[in-house]
Structure formats: C-alpha cells, structure tokens
Symmetry: C2
Subunit: 155 residues, 2 copies
DNA sequence: GAATGTAGTCAACTAGATTGACCATTATAG
DNA sequence: CTATAATGGTCAATCTAGTTGACTACATTC
C-alpha cells in the first residue's frame, strides 16, 4: 500500500522533476569543482565513447539525436578542453575516430561516482530493493518504446 | 530478485531516456492532431495555472526556472493561441494575472489523458502496484531535494 | 572508371533563452 | 506624508546551441 493517491498522468512530471533535480545537483557540484561548463550532451558523449570504440561524429550525432554539425561542435569543445582526441579512422579515410583521452576517462569515473552518490542517497531513503525495481521498470519502458530514447536534452 | 545487474550511476540516464521517450510520444501525438507547436515549457505553464489562481509572470518565471522575460514570452504565445488570458491583478496595479481560458482548460484535460495513456501502457507492462511504488519513490526524491525541482527543460 | 553515397567542414540562419535599461506602481523608512 | 527602495512588466540587444544548405574529399557500387 504505497499509493498515497496517485493522480493519473502525474508520473511523467515527476520523472522530469527528479531528473532535473539530479542533473542540477551534479552540474552544481562540477561547477564548484571549477570544471569546464559541461552540459548533459557532453555527458552522453562520454557515455558513448566509453561504451564503444571507433565512434565517428556521425555516430555521435545519431546517439545524441542532433545533426552531425552539432555533434562535431560538441566534440570540438571536448577536444579543446582535453577530454577527447580525433584520431584517423583505421579503415575510412574520410572519417575520424573520437576517443577519450586519459583526462576524459578520469572524468567519466569521477562523474559516475557523483551519479552513484545521488543514487546512494536515494537508496538510503527508499531502499536498494526499490532502486533495483526502479531500474528494472525504467528499462522496461525504454525497451518498449523502441529506438525512441535518444539522449538529447528535452527541447 | 529484479536486479538484472544494475550499474552504479545508471539510474539518472534511464530517467532521462524514459522522460525523453514519453515527451516525444506526447508531442508527436499533439503534432498529428494539428496542435500549435506546444513545448514542455507550455505544459508546465498549464500545470501551474491549473493548480493556482493569481499567478503572475514572475510567479511563472520562478516555477519554470527562467527569467521573467522568457516567462512572459511563453505566456504571450499561449495568449496568442487562445489558451490563456492576462487579466488585471485584483490588488496590485503593476501586475497582471495569467489565467487559462476555456480552451486552455480543455487542453489540460486532453493532455492529462494522453499522459495517462502512456502511463497505462507502462502499467500494463509492469503492473499498477509497481507504478504506485514508482510514484512514491519519485516523490521521495523530489521532496528530499528541496525546492530544487524547477521544471525548465534540462539544458 | 563513372555515378552515387557518405564523413566532415564552413557559413548563414533560427529559436529560445539571457542581460541590461527602463517605466509604473507598490512598499517601506524617516 | 513624502522620499527612497523594491517589484512587475516591457523593450531591445545579445548569446547559445541548435538548424539548414552548400561544398569537398574519400568510398562504394555498378
């Protein structure tokens, strides 16, 4: 009996609020650390580069749900700040591979730790089991909605 | 045993994806209905005006987490489209009250129904109990993070 | 080897916000 | 009371992160 009278259609709003609160807390933290002004799009870029090698600007554009021009600009920012490098593509002379530098990989570990701390605080409130369920249920929605879940910030 | 191996710090990403998928589905639906190009910010405006009377542009700005100029512009759009009116403020001669028109109120009901349908689809996957829990757990995070949960789209 | 497709860049434009200046009205301090 | 400060709203200029469109260089396919 956890209900406490849920209004129909309220969940999306709550999702927005929680996600927004979490990202605000993270980016506020990063700001106090004197980091470059990293935005969510940069975070999603790190994520992709961590998961896959041989990522091109076009791949990044697909992942973020933006044009290749926008993706390239984001990559250039990260390059300027020393988080990634553009390397020649092993097989395609037109393309260049986007790859994290050591600084980039360090940042990913650091950011993951910060996210994890937010999660931990939440777990302390509602319990680890519930967080596991949450994870499961969110995954269910994502896989049900097909490839729709691009990562671009919402509008 | 619902875990299926959750990576630490993965939850925020999933929240983002689900929220993004939901809003995309909603706005796609609205578009096929031939609606004006309503954005999330408009939705959050409707929500506030539904909940409170005597809302001013400054109140809206606070709610959305944007400047009063931006909030005013959003209000003007909704006014142009006939969803809201600006009325004289009962006690403050400087201020004007933002209020939904009948068309605005109709829209709110319609949008709530669409959100609810997305929820229902989710409920069909994971069950109503789980959705109730989700609601409870999201609320827990929101109330723990204080007034931080402004509704402005994330970056 | 010619035609078509694709990765990337450059440049011009757009949307949605920001900052700053300002006016009118309200609230507060002497 | 009045003088001063604070507040709601608007106008104008600017910024930012994206877009579209045109183009080059390399790849693929026939």
């Amino acid at each position: 009996m956890t209900s406490s009278s849920r209004r129909r259609g309220e969940i999306p709003l709550l999702l927005a609020m929680v996600y927004r609160a979490m990202t605000d807390e993270l980016h506020e933290h990063l700001r106090t650390e004197g980091r470059e002004p990293l935005r969510p799009a940069h975070g999603y870029t790190f994520r992709l580069l961590t998961e896959r090698a041989d990522v091109t600007a076009v791949d990044l554009a697909d992942h973020l749900g933006v044009t290749k021009q926008a993706a390239s600009k984001i990559a250039t920012e990260l390059e300027t700040w020393g988080y990634l490098e553009r390397r020649p593509h092993p097989t395609d002379g037109r393309a260049r591979v986007l790859a994290l530098t050591a600084k980039g990989a360090d940042y990913v570990r650091h950011a993951d730790e910060l996210w994890a701390q937010l999660e931990d605080r939440w777990a302390a409130q509602i319990g680890t089991d519930r967080l596991d369920q949450l994870h499961h249920d969110l995954r269910a929605y994502v896989s049900a909605s097909g490839g729709r879940a691009a990562l671009r910030p919402v509008w």
